[in-house]
């Protein structure tokens, strides 16, 4: 499909921001139209990046689980982490990637809370690895400051 979705949204956003919003009567209508244009810009970026962000994050979390699972003291949690580490994304649909991502995020929260309570160097190392993965996740999903 050409033009692509992100190109259409970016173009509409620009037109709404520059041409249409200033012509609207009233500050509330102008402000709302401007915000809607910014949302279209964000949606354009999301269309381009959404699948890649989710696929990368899911792979990253699975690799993390493979790394930290041996040091997890609780056998049930350890087994869940190992099982999740062996999974793969079989669909690139956003809904499928999101479902997998939510499962992985729940496990990550449980693993993080677990290692925080454990003494010893291996637990601290696992904690650092989890925080590094969270930072990579935040960096991937970060949206550069918008300027109006």
């Amino acid at each position: 499909m050409r033009p692509e979705v992100d190109a259409i949204l970016s173009s509409l956003a620009q037109r709404q921001l520059v041409e249409l919003a200033p012509q609207l009567g009233g500050a509330y209508a102008q402000g709302t139209a401007t915000l809607m244009a910014l949302l279209m810009r964000l949606a354009a970026e999301e269309f381009e990046n959404a699948a890649a962000i989710r696929a990368a994050e899911n792979a990253d979390f699975r690799a993390l689980f493979l790394e930290i699972a041996p040091g997890v003291a609780g056998p049930r949690l350890r087994a869940k982490l190992k099982a999740a580490a062996g999974d793969k994304d079989t669909s690139l649909k956003i809904s499928a990637l999101n479902a997998a991502n939510e499962h992985l995020r729940r496990l990550l929260i449980a693993a993080h809370a677990h290692v925080e309570t454990r003494p010893g160097a291996p637990a601290r190392e696992a904690e650092r690895a989890i925080l590094a993965a969270l930072k990579r996740s935040a960096d991937r999903r970060f949206v550069a400051p918008l300027a109006v």
């Binding site: 969270l134 999903r141 970060f142 109006v148």
Partner: protein, 343 residues
């Protein structure tokens, strides 16, 4: 479009203010924070046979709010600070009965010929940046210095002990995340656990906390004078460092983190706050509250996204907050947690 609201507001004000000839004109919605519908209008009436006119603001509860707040607390804060060194509009009437306008509301004075700054603006204050900055941090210090007992807020909100003021706020915003998250939030939850495991030093004082004191929530005029501090809907009593840390948060001027809020340098800002408040901003305590501030921000944006998704409030600001600002605060929190772990 506002015909029905026009008529109901006129009838209410005639009765409430005892002015049977009162008329209103120019009722128009304006942006005024996501937790209230805000309208500007003019009231016309006679005083002693002479015509009088006044610009007023209507703040009405929305059907669903970005943050669920008590308009009585906001009203009380405006009333408490009016006429003090903390500039606020004069409040006119508070109505907690949904009958007159469909939802509770209050009416206050309009501060004319002013503007607010956008957090998305690269240079929100132009040539008045430094002058506005000096006022901004000094006024926040004055709020912290105000005797909370004299504001009347203690009758409306809990007075927390100095030892546990932090815990109450953390519990509140953790509850918001629990209730409103649409997907698991590992960064916000990691931050909340860190905050709980590493409590801040005891508060030096319990003060009025504005709750949302930042760029975008005050009015300034063309001469660079701050004319009104707005949006007190999250006001409560607590550790005054909570407000200082919130105002310092990088979300309000992401282009230059060394100039919080897009105003003066951070060190000067803190020094002015200390001078006006009579308090020292203990670095350890402030550091805790800065992580809390970003966590609180994340909680608010998680809640905003939920409001939008559920259809309870389709204001685009809720979708924008759930995308842009949540991603921003997740990054700030992740960076800070990594830094703490490495320290």
């Amino acid at each position: 479009m506002n015909g029905a609201l026009d008529e109901r507001l006129r009838a209410y004000l005639r009765r409430r203010l005892g002015r049977p000839d009162l008329e209103i004109s120019g009722l128009a919605r304006i942006h005024g924070g996501a937790s209230r519908e805000t309208y500007r209008f003019r009231a016309h009436y006679s005083v002693g046979g002479r015509k009088a006119e006044r610009g007023l603001i209507l703040r009405r509860d929305p059907e669903a709010s970005l943050i669920e707040t008590e308009r009585a607390i906001e009203f009380c804060a405006y009333r408490a600070f009016h006429g003090t060194g903390v500039p606020v509009p004069e409040v006119i009437a508070l109505e907690e009965d949904a009958g007159p306008l469909g939802r509770p509301f209050f009416v206050m004075e309009e501060i004319a010929d002013c503007q607010t700054a956008s957090v998305l603006s690269g240079d929100p204050y132009g040539a008045h940046r430094d002058a506005i900055g000096r006022q901004f941090w000094t006024i926040l210090g004055r709020i912290a210095a105000t005797d909370a007992a004299k504001t009347g807020m203690a009758a409306l909100v809990d007075l927390p002990p100095v030892e546990t003021a932090w815990r109450r706020e953390l519990a509140h915003w953790m509850g918001v995340v629990d209730e409103d998250e649409q997907e698991p939030q590992p960064i916000a939850r990691a931050a909340a656990r860190w905050l709980e495991r590493n409590p801040p030093p005891v508060a030096r004082r319990i003060s009025v906390v504005h709750g949302d004191y930042r760029t975008g929530n005050f009015l300034f005029d063309d001469t660079g004078r701050i004319r009104a501090i707005l949006d007190w809907e999250m006001a409560h009593l607590g550790d005054p460092l909570e407000d200082l840390a919130w105002a310092l948060d990088p979300a309000w001027a992401p282009q230059d983190p060394n100039r919080p809020g897009g105003m003066i340098a951070r060190d000067e800002a803190i020094a002015l706050w200390e001078e006006a408040s009579g308090l020292a901003a203990d670095p350890a305590a402030l550091s805790w509250w800065e992580i809390f501030a970003s966590f609180k921000g994340a909680a608010i944006w998680i809640s905003a996204a939920r409001e939008f998704a559920d259809g309870r409030n389709r204001d685009p600001v809720n979708a924008f907050s759930g995308w842009y600002l949540l991603a921003f605060h997740n990054k700030v929190l992740a960076d800070r947690l990594v830094a703490r772990a490495a320290a």
